[in-house]
Symmetry: none
Subunit: 224 residues, 2 copies
DNA sequence: CGAAATCATGACGAATTCATGACAGGCCCG
DNA sequence: CGGGCCTGTCATGAATTCGTCATGATTTCG
């Protein structure tokens, strides 16, 4: 998952940006000042950095120059006004692009893609959740068992991911219905059916499951 | 030698720009209209394009969008007035930078270098993307299979690049529509059709694809 | 022990999801 | 202006998947 660092002092804007970007599928990190942003970026580089130009202390332009000195991470400046001077100065400082407040998330997202397309960050390998002989790769949409791909349907996959995201914890049928099916009401037996089908595919002995286990009276959980 | 394409309708300005740039060591091509500029650029791409915003027929903004659609050549807009609105619109259309008339050649030259440095450093780490017998060269705009060039259309190529950029990851039809077609809404079947056409060209057995695979219920992905 | 609650699972029709061929409009080129 | 390529839409059919139900097994608890 692509990580974004948002350096912006206005809490409301930073939070709303973070939420919107998370919806778009980014992992978001936040920093309210240039100093903290620079530290965060040095510690664990994000794939894209958004920098507000008006920051307390070290301002956005200087921040961009510093970031640029460290590496060539894509940088998008956020300008409070569509002021030519600011925009040019930001681009000259080393920003790759800019957006003007109020930020349209669709536009921002498009620009981030465009900028990243240009920089072509080396594709990081897809991450995997491992449960013994089971391997779940959410981004790849695939499940491996003993290293071999297992054919899983969409619903089963989502169910499995949901359980894997909360490894070791029990999820009630109600919770699963809400998160996987986006039902608020519905027949809880439905979950049973899909759990059963999933077991047929991922368990060595479906009748005595080792990973996808029933917690009687409560729900199901996935364990190692 | 770096080639520059100057798209500017005013003969005097175009000529004086051309002369000045030749003095700076550029190979200069000229076009008095957007239409001619686009054709010239498609036929033989320059390394940088200068576009006047006020053009007869297709205007500069639209011209920039078209250029941007074809590739990510560095584009510098030339604005008659230092009007914020024009400049912002030009940058939003996809220009990388802009200069205001009367054009200072020294400034222009500096901006061209800056813009090219940005795009080149960004683009250089790109090596060919290899997927088994498939080889995708985003820069060169070509696809090889068993070392032999494969004729793919622009849409197919962009689709393939988008998938290759996220090797191993599933991209939903929605994501592909947004990124390849720049639609926010649209018929998702469209993606299927192009995937099908692409398979005819790049897969040994299109009915049982090995690289461009369907992940039922989720989307498509490109794998090795 | 027996009844009630809880869970597993097979079957089946309905609905979804995909692949593919056909086709018309647009664009470019000769 | 005519032909060829590219693109997007549509329709069709095949294959898969989904949700429901019924039945039977298992566990809990009075």
């Amino acid at each position: 998952m692509a990580a974004v660092l948002v350096i912006e002092d206005d809490d409301r804007i930073r939070l709303s940006l973070a939420l919107a970007l998370e919806d778009e599928g980014y992992a978001v990190r936040e920093a309210p000042t240039a100093e903290e942003g620079l530290i965060a970026q040095r510690r664990e580089p994000a794939d894209t950095v958004l920098v507000d130009l008006m920051l307390p202390g070290i301002d956005g332009f200087e921040c961009i120059r510093e970031l640029r000195r460290d590496g060539d991470v894509p940088i998008i400046a956020i300008s409070a006004r569509s002021d030519t001077h600011d925009i040019v100065a930001a681009l000259e400082a080393g920003a790759d692009d800019y957006v003007v407040k109020p930020v349209e998330v669709k536009e921002l997202s498009a620009r981030m893609r465009a900028v990243r397309r240009r920089t072509r960050t080396a594709a990081s390998p897809v991450s995997a959740l491992v449960f013994g002989e089971l391997e779940i790769r959410p981004e790849a949409g695939e499940v491996l068992r003993h290293g071999e791909p297992v054919a899983v349907t969409r619903t089963e996959f989502r169910l499995l991911c949901e359980l894997a995201d909360h490894a070791g914890r029990v999820l009630s049928r109600q919770q699963l219905l809400e998160r996987v099916w986006e039902y608020s009401i519905g027949d809880e037996r439905l979950v049973d059916v899909h759990v059963g089908r999933l077991r047929q595919k991922i368990e060595d002995n479906p009748a005595a499951p080792r990973h996808l286990v029933t917690v009687r009276g409560l729900g199901y959980k996935l364990q190692r």
